[in-house]
């Protein structure tokens, strides 16, 4: 088997992370909105459940996903009947990274929504806009910085996901091997230099994203202070 080039690994990682981030965007923003706006005893429960991927070992999350998706598992049976194969394909990588990144999107998005003066939303309603329209015309424009920061955070987390991915997608070069997995494998077989090259690329990407996110958040802080 020819080992894939650095570029192809990088592109696979980028593609998987982008799809995973896009996939969780509507769901994560919706969850953040509900958590920010609604009160109730179930709120804490949902918040805790959503935060689990942050605190559980990623391999544990991966194992839970594996159990659910295997042919005899609850989800796997349905998918098998539908002819959809997920385990050990790139789709599994997407799923693993999506689940692990989800809380990182929801938290900043929720904070951004909570910072909106609820009276502005009430004003929007009173001026004749339906709830969805108020969300689009008032809530989104007032919180986009927080939403973008959360999206970038989730994306960078998706780029580096390892534990859950290796459990349900394996480490198949050219198919499911992302940067994080490739670094592990190359080091494992003694190709430290090749692994370090990937570390360099990862570092540059991470630096760019975190830097961008910092700038965005700082601008927001300044705007709030003014």
């Amino acid at each position: 088997m020819t080992s894939p080039t650095d570029l192809s690994i990088f592109l696979l990682t980028l593609r998987v992370a982008a799809i995973a981030t896009l996939a969780i965007l509507p769901l994560g923003i919706g969850a953040a909105w509900i958590l920010a706006r609604r009160e109730g005893p179930w709120r804490t429960l949902i918040e805790t459940l959503l935060s689990l991927p942050l605190v559980l070992p990623p391999t544990a999350v991966g194992l839970l996903l594996l159990e659910a998706l295997r042919r005899s598992g609850p989800l796997g049976r349905v998918l098998d009947r539908a002819g959809v194969e997920i385990l050990f394909t790139w789709k599994a990588v997407v799923l693993a990274t999506a689940v692990m990144s989800f809380p990182l999107l929801v938290r900043p998005a929720r904070t951004a929504f909570e910072e909106i003066d609820p009276r502005l939303l009430a004003m929007g309603r009173s001026l004749g806009s339906r709830p969805w329209s108020v969300f689009r015309r008032v809530a989104l424009p007032l919180s986009w910085r927080g939403l973008l920061a959360g999206t970038l955070l989730a994306f960078s987390r998706a780029l580096g996901e390892f534990g859950a991915t290796i459990m349900i997608a394996g480490n198949i070069p050219g198919r499911t091997q992302t940067m994080a997995l490739a670094i592990f494998q190359r080091t494992h077989i003694g190709q430290d230099d090749a692994a370090l090259r990937l570390v360099g690329i990862t570092a540059i990407v991470a630096f760019t994203i975190v830097g961008a996110s910092e700038i965005i958040t700082r601008r927001r802080a300044r705007k709030t202070a003014a």
Partner: protein, 351 residues
């Protein structure tokens, strides 16, 4: 005609407002925390737990007993909250247009902009506006939706005297040229008298008095420690000698008012603070004050060492604020003959 019968439980007391008001313009009075804002929010549909009935000029806004509980966006009520609540991410023009349906007549927008004189502000963002400008923009935004009722929550609170004088005329213009009914929350009896035909006084969520703004002043002085009682008069101003005092005629009574650099004759509105009304039981002669009137005491309300004295003189009801000691020394009681004096410079022009 405004018919209110609403209830809502608040954290400290239940709000229970029942009133049939024969007028279209109603002042809502009462101390802070008596439920005035909650009443407005209930009518606007922003309190989903509120129950009851609201009818404005034969149009039923809500009637929960009949299952009519429209969401705020379907009520067509223009709400102007105390802190204006402008959208910070939109410039003034887009703020004003926010509630206009697409394809709505531009007439509405033009009219709101013209009446409130906000044309030069249109490209600005709310953060750059002064308090008075914000209130005008919020009013324009509410007007542009062609509301069937306006809810004005202390539109002049936190605004200095000069600005009050700039905004009050806009409110009167809305009443006169657009004839939109409104509820107007205020702590200022003068404002209430100037803008409203009817008044409600609330205490702990309940109506303790309903009637004309004149009649409500006593209840207001009893209930509201923050109340202000400016005497407000509308009339006709004519120019005197250049640099000299103007002549203001209201109800056939002539008053000397301060000179202005450019005195525009015509309809005018003046306010006199109750502290500036001097009361005497002797005929006042040889005093410097230019405006001396003979009158009769209608009532003396005592609250916290202050005697709020209502005097009818020159065809007007005046409110004078005296210390209790002064009122006792003068023997001011209902029916007493008095003279009042108001210095020229005690007249503040509002319009």
């Amino acid at each position: 005609m405004i018919e209110l019968d609403v209830s809502l439980s608040l954290s400290r007391f239940p709000l229970r407002v029942q009133a049939n008001l024969p007028a279209d313009t109603v002042a809502v009075l009462g101390p802070s925390g008596s439920g005035k804002t909650s009443l407005l929010e209930t009518i606007a549909g922003l309190r989903p737990k509120a129950v009851g009935r609201v009818v404005i000029r034969d149009a039923t806004v809500m009637d929960t007993a009949k299952g009519l509980r429209p969401p705020p966006e379907r009520r067509r009520i223009g709400y102007v909250p105390q802190d204006s609540c402008l959208f910070p991410h939109l410039d003034v023009e887009r703020n004003v247009r926010f509630g206009m349906t697409r394809g709505a007549a531009t007439r509405l927008f033009d009219e709101a902009v013209r009446i409130l004189e906000i044309e030069p502000l249109l490209p600005q963002y709310p953060a750059t506006l002064s308090g008075g400008e914000r209130q005008r923009v919020a009013l324009a935004r509410a007007l542009a939706t062609e509301p069937r009722l306006l809810l004005l929550d202390e539109p002049l609170a936190g605004v200095d005297v000069a600005l009050r004088g700039r905004i009050l005329p806009y409110l009167l213009r809305i009443r006169e040229s657009l004839a939109i009914p409104f509820l107007y929350v205020t702590h200022n009896a003068g404002e209430a008298r100037a803008v409203a035909e009817s008044a409600l006084v609330l205490r702990r969520g309940a109506v303790v008095h309903a009637g004309s703004p004149e009649e409500s002043i006593a209840a207001m002085s009893r209930e509201d420690p923050e109340a202000r009682f400016d005497n407000v008069f509308s009339g006709l101003l004519s120019a005197g000698e250049p640099g000299a005092a103007g002549l203001f005629v209201a109800h056939g009574q002539r008053f000397a008012v301060p000179a202005e650099p450019v005195l525009t004759p015509g309809a005018a509105l003046y306010a006199v603070a109750p502290d500036d009304v001097l009361v005497s039981t002797q005929p006042l002669t040889g005093v410097s004050a230019r405006n001396v009137l003979r009158g009769r005491v209608r009532s003396v309300e005592d609250s916290d060492g202050t005697a709020w004295t209502r005097i009818s003189a020159g065809g007007f009801d005046w409110t004078a604020r005296l210390t209790r000691a002064a009122a006792e020394e003068l023997g001011l009681t209902k029916g007493a003959d008095v003279w009042i004096a108001i210095k020229t410079h005690a007249f503040h022009r509002l319009r």
